[in-house]
């Protein structure tokens, strides 16, 4: 897999609840994108004081629309760079690197799957659900968020999900609570073999635990702070246990962002756990 750097152009930016849905025309990215891949966007223009790219999961892509090849993302404006993005207008230039990272691994057999998206973390789940169902895997969706405006993609979910389950912490939509409050039962009743998840670290950790407790694999797309997004800087690492049982500090941008939930040392994120390869002795 190879990433492309593409001089993109904004097709549209549409507010959706608390988020923005951004469509970018950019060549060379859409056809290679798989669910779980992300793009890294340059921010602020050539004279900006903000140098680092921002990473966003690919929501969906198209190679056949009237704007040519397009890539779509969903983002929350919370820091400086994403606030700048919230002012993007059609026609604005935006440099895109993508697709980057390791996508979600798809089962070889037509097993049942549960897909969990927290907040904007649901963005990659709809193309994933489609890909799963294309290979005969039922795809049950769980969308969760603190509040209704932070749920993304309910209508997509209803289109592509084998079933759809929603939680909000304030109870304004669906079940009051968190995604993990409904997850265990769902894995059980659907006899799911794999749980896919994308969302905040805390959620991923909890999802990985629930999956494991219920005898399913988990595939978690993590979100670590990234400087380069292409594997050259070593800022985005987290402790992951290899097949050999050794914990390594692994780049989440190119060795992830998707990891097997049981491999990530969730408890030790933000530290170098004792025994890590090359760790302090």
């Amino acid at each position: 897999m190879s990433a492309t750097q593409s001089a993109g152009t904004v097709v549209s930016r549409t507010p959706v609840g608390d988020y923005h849905h951004l469509v970018i025309a950019a060549e060379g990215i859409a056809e290679h994108a798989r669910p779980g891949h992300f793009v890294a966007l340059a921010i602020g223009g050539v004279d900006s004081g903000m140098l680092l790219r921002r990473a966003f999961s690919i929501y969906r892509t198209s190679t056949t629309g009237r704007h040519g090849e397009t890539v779509e993302i969903v983002f929350a404006a919370h820091g400086k760079g994403t606030r700048w993005m919230a002012d993007l207008a059609p026609g604005d230039p935006i440099d895109v690197v993508g697709p980057v990272g390791r996508p979600f691994a798809l089962p070889k057999e037509p097993v049942s799957c549960v897909l969990v998206g927290g907040g904007y973390g649901s963005a990659p789940m709809f193309s994933l659900a489609t890909a799963l169902r294309d290979r005969g895997c039922p795809a049950h969706l769980v969308l969760g968020a603190a509040t209704t405006p932070r749920l993304f993609g309910l209508s997509d979910a209803n289109k592509v999900g084998s079933s759809v389950h929603v939680t909000t912490e304030d109870g304004s939509t669906g079940t009051r609570g968190r995604v993990t409050d409904v997850l265990g039962d769902l894995v059980d009743t659907t006899d799911a073999a794999v749980v896919y998840a994308c969302g905040p670290m805390g959620m991923l950790r909890a999802v990985a635990d629930v999956a494991e407790d219920n005898g399913a694999w988990s595939q978690c797309a993590v979100e670590e702070s990234m400087a380069c997004g292409i594997g050259v800087c070593m800022t985005c690492v987290l402790p992951v246990e290899g097949e050999d049982g050794i914990v390594r500090m692994v780049r989440s941008c190119v060795d992830g962002p998707v990891f097997r939930g049981d491999r990530v040392r969730w408890d030790a994120v933000g530290t170098i756990p004792p025994g890590t390869l090359g760790g302090p002795r």
């Binding site: 070593m234 190119v254 170098i272």
Partner: protein, 321 residues
């Protein structure tokens, strides 16, 4: 002080510009390299441009043993720059020589291998190992690291420690592999340190490494980086880097210099050449634009062409004239 402008004649075609450089006997097609730690071992960047076309790839500083680096967060964006506290994470020299270096060599790139240690003996061992490896174009000795044998004082902060590392390394490296000592700008007088490593047998110097910086986390109200302090890099530091090159060139008219610090455009690269750099490196800006190193090559060619300058020799040190 006021200068008359140089006069090189009218614009020429970019094709007429010869960017090649002879760096202590090593022929480079152009003077632009990647900066250590900003390009891993070249492989990832090969997606964005042909690494064999660039002047050279400088690899991430390698240590004797595998190293996990520091806890995250390891970076913070700062105005026109960034802080990093990677802590020299890497696979160790064995894996590097077995896997990373051969890829670069086979790919046809000029490999400048950066080495780093905790104590002088580490550097010696690394110099020996890398010096024997096939295909190494040059060695960069990153002495901007804490010396565990000297209260953690950074080697390059002290002329004596700097001298000692280079003096001990140099004999273990074949004569035809040039050795560059990479210096920190966090010193009162960088020209003295450059003089010390030159006396110790370095063929040249690389300036600058990052500046020591610190930033706070708005949530914890404590230092943001896992490493507490971090290294400041990016266009923010460029004026400091150009000044360091200029000071060293002034003090040591013949010492080869690799200029690095905040290069974003072809004109930025030219600034370093005017100040005295023989070649330049692009670091942090790669994170902004992975195609930057080859873009800088093209832009540098255009900057020279538009001014009617046919080769780098014509303008090197021109700011001193």
């Amino acid at each position: 002080m006021s200068y008359a402008p140089h006069d090189f004649g009218g614009p020429i075609s970019p094709d007429e510009v010869d960017l090649s450089v002879d760096l202590c006997g090593v022929a480079l097609p152009n003077p632009v390299m990647t900066a250590s730690g900003c390009a891993a071992a070249g492989r990832e960047l090969d997606q964005f441009f042909d690494v064999a076309e660039l002047g050279a790839i400088v690899t991430k500083s390698i240590m004797l043993n595998p190293r996990s680096g520091r806890a995250t967060p390891r970076m913070a964006e700062t105005p026109s720059g960034m802080l990093n506290s990677i802590g020299l994470q890497g696979p160790g020299i064995d894996a590097f020589l077995a896997r990373d270096l051969p890829w670069l060599v086979q790919r046809g790139a000029r490999a400048v291998v950066s080495i780093a240690g905790d104590k002088p003996a580490d550097y010696v061992e690394l110099a020996r190992r890398v010096g024997q490896a096939p295909g190494v174009a040059a060695i960069e000795v990153n002495i901007s690291c804490p010396n565990v044998e000297n209260r953690g004082l950074v080697f390059a902060c002290d002329a004596e420690s700097s001298y000692r590392v280079i003096e001990e390394c140099r004999p273990h490296i074949p004569d035809d592999i040039p050795v560059f000592a990479k210096l920190t700008p966090d010193v009162t007088d960088i020209a003295t340190i450059a003089g010390a490593v030159a006396d110790a047998g370095a063929d040249g110097v690389t300036v600058i490494n990052t500046l020591l910086g610190l930033t706070m986390d708005p949530d914890t109200l404590r230092p943001r980086l896992g490493g507490v302090t971090g290294g400041l890099s990016g266009p923010a530091v460029r004026p400091v880097a150009v000044r360091a090159v200029w000071q060293i060139r002034k003090a040591l008219p013949d010492l080869p210099i690799l200029g690095v610090g905040g290069i974003r455009t072809g004109f930025d690269a030219l600034e370093f050449v005017l100040a005295g750099a023989d070649a330049v490196q692009v670091g942090t800006v790669i994170f902004n634009d992975p195609g930057a190193p080859m873009r800088v090559v093209r832009e540098l060619r255009d900057e020279l062409a538009v001014r009617g300058i046919r080769s780098l020799d014509t303008v090197r040190n021109a700011a001193h004239g």
